[in-house]
């Protein structure tokens, strides 16, 4: 009960500072002019009118959104870093990993002689403003830049993650874990997932006809439930926006324009990293190369958005900082770099690319991407024990495979093709760039619907199960990778259904 009232207080405090609060207050004031309002029943009448005009629903959606990103309740004596991540050895590994990234960025900066941030001269600002919608046509010299890190560097950190209080012998026994992840986290097995109506709710005619009402009712929670069975293509954009409670009000457009202005005024080193990433990944992809310009417009603004910093309330990662001397030279002040605290890595732009199929207005695309990042994607590249964190997902994949296809796992291990080394790149990108777009969007429907990234781990296992026969015949890591190189013909839902319901232990 204590926890509940603390959460309620937190949510109300957060909503008090928002645009919604002032709008509600304005609406309430306008209600007072209506003739139906009586002084004796003022409170109830105003509430009734707000409900009828849809404002109560907006408030409900806002509260629902806050519940999604509320930091977990902690014990009063627990320090904040413990509440974000209780396991001390994971926090330590995350800190060391961040130090490595900082060193890499600093050395790139020193080698190239480029400052991490600089104000653009006026002429350059003008040029960029003119070119804003076609930044893709630019061909800057990016050969000197290299990504700060790639998934293959990150997997080594996760493989090296060890609990000092845990003794793992090298012996391969029936009871030991055959995979690369050496920590014991609670991850769900198939039985636990299907005992809830998890992942595969068969669409019913009744529910399908409701989708028009869903959009008109503007109910976040109902839209999220609906998304569990997949969204109709024509309504997906609206439904995702409803689930994430993103709006495209004048305030949101203004915020986006402000970010754009920040991009014009200051040039950041990470901008080059973003350019390089887009050129290396999305631009080379058959499905996404047309959206190159959108990707720049979203990612450059994303780097400047300090609103993203709030996700560090529940993310155990720490944003990088730098000391700036004030102009008078008297003070030193710590600022976050980049302003949103997130350093992009190789493949980062693939988190945005699929969304370009849904939204063509940059400010709308931006809002949806930002919300998806601060709810889900950040967990894919920070070290934590959260059930949707990358460590848990990798462990879940390995455990599912070892439990349900032990012969395959053993065979792959023997030929030096640890399954995680192949599946990791799929998991870290939530399959973006590996599945065909329509299938990917069906997968992401479920991520939103179930508010969890576990389905990514399950799909990775299902892919191995599907190609098990071919994999049993390969004799090297390279040939195993070749078998699993092309996932573009796979259909996500049948694959998941076969694995979850038809695979016997």
């Amino acid at each position: 009960m204590m926890d509940e009232s603390v959460s309620i207080t937190q949510i109300v405090q957060r909503l008090k500072g928002t645009n919604l609060h002032s709008q509600l207050e304005k609406q309430a004031k306008e209600c007072l002019h209506k003739p139906e309002i009586k002084l004796e029943t003022l409170k109830d009448d105003v509430r009734r009118l707000l409900k009828a005009s849809g404002w109560e629903r907006k408030l409900q959606n806002a509260v629902y959104r806050e519940l999604h990103i509320l930091p977990p309740p902690g014990h009063p004596r627990a320090p904040p870093e413990h509440t974000k991540e209780p396991l001390a050895y994971m926090r330590k590994t995350q800190v060391n990993w961040e130090k490595r990234i900082l060193k890499s960025l600093n050395s790139m900066c020193t080698e190239l002689g480029i400052p991490l941030a600089r104000k653009r001269p006026v002429a350059e600002q003008k040029e960029l403003t003119n070119k804003w919608n076609e930044m893709g046509t630019d061909e800057p010299d990016l050969s000197k830049f290299r990504p700060v890190y790639a998934p293959k560097d990150f997997i080594e950190v996760l493989v090296g993650l060890k609990n000092p209080n845990n003794e793992r012998s090298e012996d391969l026994t029936v009871r030991s874990h055959w995979g690369l992840i050496q920590v014991s986290l609670n991850v769900r097995d198939i039985l636990q997932m299907v005992s809830l109506p998890f992942f595969i709710s068969l669409p019913s005619i009744f529910l399908m006809s409701r989708h028009k009402e869903l959009v008109s009712e503007q109910d976040s929670a109902a839209a999220q439930q609906y998304s569990r069975q997949g969204c109709p293509t024509g309504l997906r954009a609206q439904l995702w926006s409803l689930i994430l409670n993103t709006t495209n009000d004048p305030e949101d457009i203004t915020h986006y324009e402000q970010l754009k202005a920040r991009v014009i005024h200051h040039d950041l080193l990470v901008d080059n990293l973003i350019y390089k990433d887009v050129k290396l990944t999305a631009s080379n992809d058959d499905y996404y190369f047309v959206f190159e310009d959108y990707l720049y417009q979203v990612l450059l603004c994303f780097s400047r958005d300090t609103a993203v910093l709030e996700h560090f309330n529940y993310n155990c990662a720490t944003p990088p900082k730098s000391c700036i001397q004030s102009k008078s030279g008297s003070e030193q002040c710590a600022v976050v770099y980049p302003p949103n605290g997130v350093i992009p890595f190789h493949g980062f732009s693939m988190y945005v690319a699929p969304l370009c199929f849904l939204y063509n207005e940059p400010s709308k695309l931006y809002s949806v991407f930002r919300e998806m990042y601060i709810r889900y994607f950040f967990r894919l590249h920070s070290i934590s024990s959260h059930p949707s964190g990358i460590v848990s997902l990798c462990l879940q994949f390995e455990r599912l495979l070892q439990t349900h296809l032990p012969q395959l796992f053993y065979h792959l291990r023997e030929i030096g093709a640890q399954p995680l080394r192949i599946a990791f790149k799929w998991i870290v990108r939530a399959f973006s760039g590996y599945l065909s777009t329509d299938q990917l969007l069906l997968l992401w429907d479920r991520i939103l619907g179930y508010d969890s990234l576990e389905i990514v781990a399950v799909l990775a296992t299902a892919v191995f199960v599907f190609r098990a026969e071919n994999l049993m015949e390969v004799t090297s890591l390279a040939s195993a990778e070749a078998v699993l190189a092309d996932l573009s013909t796979l259909k996500v839902m049948p694959l998941l259904q076969i694995f979850l319901f038809a695979t016997s232990v």
Partner: protein, 201 residues
């Protein structure tokens, strides 16, 4: 919760295992830690930080009518729902009076029995143990509810009814201005954002 912890002496844990503690290769699954209190205390709360203990049993020695009696006040309290997995292994816990099987009054010694049946972990223990006494007679908590409604209590939030719109809008404007300043100060110093190098802290 601002009560101070009572001073106590925490003895080092004793392992319970069959066979010779030194030569036996298997690790103990039970530890016993005794905590002696300087004077008899009525316990309100015992708080601690877990380190891989799965189940906790608490026994108290109470001074009653001149003799000392041992009672169990908590039996196999689960700290880690799955003893083989990390969940709960580093968490902070508090055990309150109302959760205990018997009244923890006039307690002179507290005995903690720690169990960890899983062979996954090398060590397990309980750390940062604090014992908080009951509030004194004249503290705020014992004041009957109707008295506290007479004196205006400073509430950060008015959850009942709509607050006054004027104060709300002025405080929102102030908060907005403040967040703008804070955001600006996080991104720039006096309008400049000439970042040279990242710092390692």
């Amino acid at each position: 919760m601002s009560a101070k912890a009572v001073s106590c002496t925490i003895k080092s844990p004793v392992a319970l295992q069959i066979g010779d503690a030194v030569s036996d290769s298997s690790r103990p699954g039970v530890y016993i830690t005794d905590i002696t209190l300087a004077e008899p205390v009525n316990i309100q709360e015992i708080s601690f930080k877990n380190y891989y203990t799965a189940y906790l049993t608490v026994r108290l020695q109470r001074r009653e009518d001149g003799s000392a009696k041992w009672v169990t006040c908590l039996r196999n309290y689960c700290l880690m729902s799955n003893p083989h997995a990390e969940a709960g292994s580093h968490d902070y816990f508090s055990i309150y009076r109302h959760q205990m099987l018997t009244e923890p009054d006039n307690v002179t010694t507290v005995r903690l029995i720690l169990r960890q049946p899983s062979s996954e972990w090398l060590n397990f223990s309980i750390e940062e143990i604090n014992i908080y006494p009951c509030a004194k007679e004249d503290s705020e908590r014992d004041v009957p509810a109707w008295i506290s409604t007479l004196t205006p209590v400073e509430e950060p939030l008015d959850l009942n009814g709509l607050p006054d719109p004027e104060t709300v809008s002025s405080s929102i404007q102030q908060m907005w201005a403040l967040t703008e300043i804070m955001q600006a100060s996080q991104t720039a110093v006096e309008g400049s954002y000439d970042v040279k190098l990242l710092s390692y802290t």
